[in-house]
Symmetry: C2
Subunit: 365 residues, 2 copies
């Protein structure tokens, strides 16, 4: 089969040019005679790959000099524990804004380590919106405030970088799980104390975690925090405290180079806005499909939609896959369909999907 349009929520589609280059370089990276997979992480060759990836990530996202970029392992689910183990310090609790499945999981895991205050939750809406900042109810002295910037399953996204100064807490570290929308638009890193995520949506292969942390937040790890997950130790060792996932970092680096060639996050932001608008507009004007998410909070990355007649779901999935549009099944907790359209999904993929949806609606409607 030729390449398909892959709408997987993650691990997700990668730029084809990145995969081609990885295949070409598989047996011999730049004349070294070895694959990147076979390189000592301390070799000059891998160090150059690592340094370039770190520098490109920093430049793409505009990460200020007083933030460290760490490459770790365990994904966002491990970070749900690693964050409180590192940031609580001598405080007892942390505040969480709950906007869907992922932030629900995050606050549950944090309860192992911290008194968790739910500052706001959209549960009553069925997680179809994001509670307005002015209604967030913060505790007196939390170690940090946690958000999930994009809920992959429900399809809601913070369209902005919250400024905690606006709610009278300019010094409270804002922590964000950005697994599924990192690098998808320009952002103001300085609004956050810590940003983390799994790489497998917008950056690269599963098994790589990125952490962007303000330096003043380092060095507070709980004494029982495993050394490999102590941000200060990882930062001091330049992400080589343990052997890092070297090949995943290499692929991430190729994705960063691809992003730069595409025009960076500015261009990506425009492209992602255009792609998602196209799909939401079609769904909204159709009487065959629907999306129930608050329009101000709709994710540009994950577009869930329902067939109004859910008896047609199986046929939709079977026929779309046969048409080369794969992984469209919605998460079981939501049902229906979900099109994940991260950076690597070209607008042609969205157009092809809409074309199929129109045709399907015409035939079955």
């Amino acid at each position: 089969m030729s390449r398909v349009f892959n709408f997987s929520a993650g691990p997700a589609a990668l730029p084809e040019s990145v995969l081609r280059r990885a295949a070409e370089e598989m047996l011999d990276w730049h004349g070294t005679g070895v694959s990147v997979m076979e390189m000592s992480h301390r070799s000059a060759a891998f160090q150059s790959i690592y340094q370039q990836a770190e520098a490109d990530f920093r430049e793409l996202l505009g990460v200020p000099a007083n933030y460290r970029i760490l490459f770790m392992q365990g994904g966002a689910i491990a970070e749900n524990a690693i964050v409180p183990m590192n940031l609580l310090g001598d405080k007892r609790g942390a505040d969480y804004v709950v906007t869907g499945s992922w932030s629900t999981k995050s606050q549950q895991e944090a309860r192992k380590f911290a008194e968790v205050n739910i500052a706001a939750t959209a549960e009553a809406s069925g997680f179809t919106t994001i509670p307005a900042m002015e209604r967030w109810r913060l505790s007196d002295d939390p170690a940090y405030l946690f958000i999930c910037s994009n809920e992959t399953i429900g399809g809601v996204e913070f369209a902005f970088d919250p400024d905690l100064g606006d709610i009278g807490r300019p010094d409270l570290p804002l922590v964000a799980d950005m697994s599924s929308n990192i690098l998808s638009r320009p952002m103001d890193v300085s609004r956050y104390g810590l940003i983390f995520g799994g790489a497998q949506k917008n950056i690269g292969p599963a098994g790589l975690t990125f952490v962007i942390v303000r330096e003043d937040l380092l060095g507070k790890a709980h004494k029982d925090c495993p050394s490999a997950f102590d941000y200060a130790l990882v930062a001091e060792a330049e992400s080589m405290y343990n052997t890092p996932p070297t090949y995943a970092i290499y692929i991430a680096g190729l994705v960063f180079q691809w992003l730069r060639a595409q025009g960076g996050v500015e261009a990506m932001g425009q492209r992602n806005a255009a792609k998602s608008a196209l799909l939401y507009n079609y769904v909204d004007t159709s009487d065959f499909y629907e999306n129930r998410i608050d329009r101000a909070c709709r994710s540009r990355m994950n577009v869930p939609f329902l067939l109004k007649d859910d008896r047609l779901n199986a046929a939709f999935l079977e026929e779309s896959a046969a048409a080369g549009l794969v992984q469209l099944k919605g998460h079981k907790s939501v049902g229906g369909m979900r099109a994940s359209i991260y950076n690597a999904m070209p607008i042609e993929g969205v157009e092809a999907l809409i074309g199929f949806m129109q045709d399907f609606a015409k035939r079955k409607g």
Copy 2:
């Protein structure tokens, strides 16, 4: 440059046929139209890759049915904390046999969680031997006894699977870090309660951790153990509690298939014995090089050797690299040279190294 002989201690050389297949399948795995890197970990395609890898690993190593195989993240350094977090249960301490740098690190990390008793240490010998089992001094009621089956840096290896019944503790779980000699010879898994390691020496890319654990040891995790590292949760979720390092598992699976085609661990054991004997024999008969490790404990995986005149080290490294023999520098704590000759190193690589060593000795001796 053409492919070189790569003596890296890890990440280490992989079979060339595995890399060729990975390159060929990079853009389209088995007609799915997507790369393995782009597959949802829950897709039927990836599930088939995962199941095959697990089954092949189990068959190669002869893992009994009452053991679970887990694929995790964080490498052996993370496991140094994850093991006590999972196995201590209601016991207070654990016993460690210290045979070099890695077991030293393991017992240090365990002190965060447990009262550590050093049952034996070879430190007085400069870590050139393994203390005889009859001299191990166990504590009264440890949760487990820990060994590192092969010390990558010092170059000592357990040539046998310890039977704790021989020292009157048949029910004490034996835990082994087998990062650097897993699958290098036939072994008796039933002697162990838990075996773990990073994949990046004998199995595949860095970023993948294997854990083989007897089922009765599951379910004792400390309440502060991050969920992603709770063996019982990982086992229940078939290593999908968090998104696993999918591409690394795929490569590991290709390595397992390669191992089966080579004749399995029986053939590997013979080949590794022959490779290492060739190199040790040459070093021992040379008056230009030396190895100071107790002959009964010499590693078949990592062969450290010294030039008797260490002023020639730089020239040795430069000229060997120019001859296509790379990553021979010894660990800084030991000095000299180290040839890591894992499963993927063909005997031709060892012969080429010896040829170079002979020539170098003739020219400089």
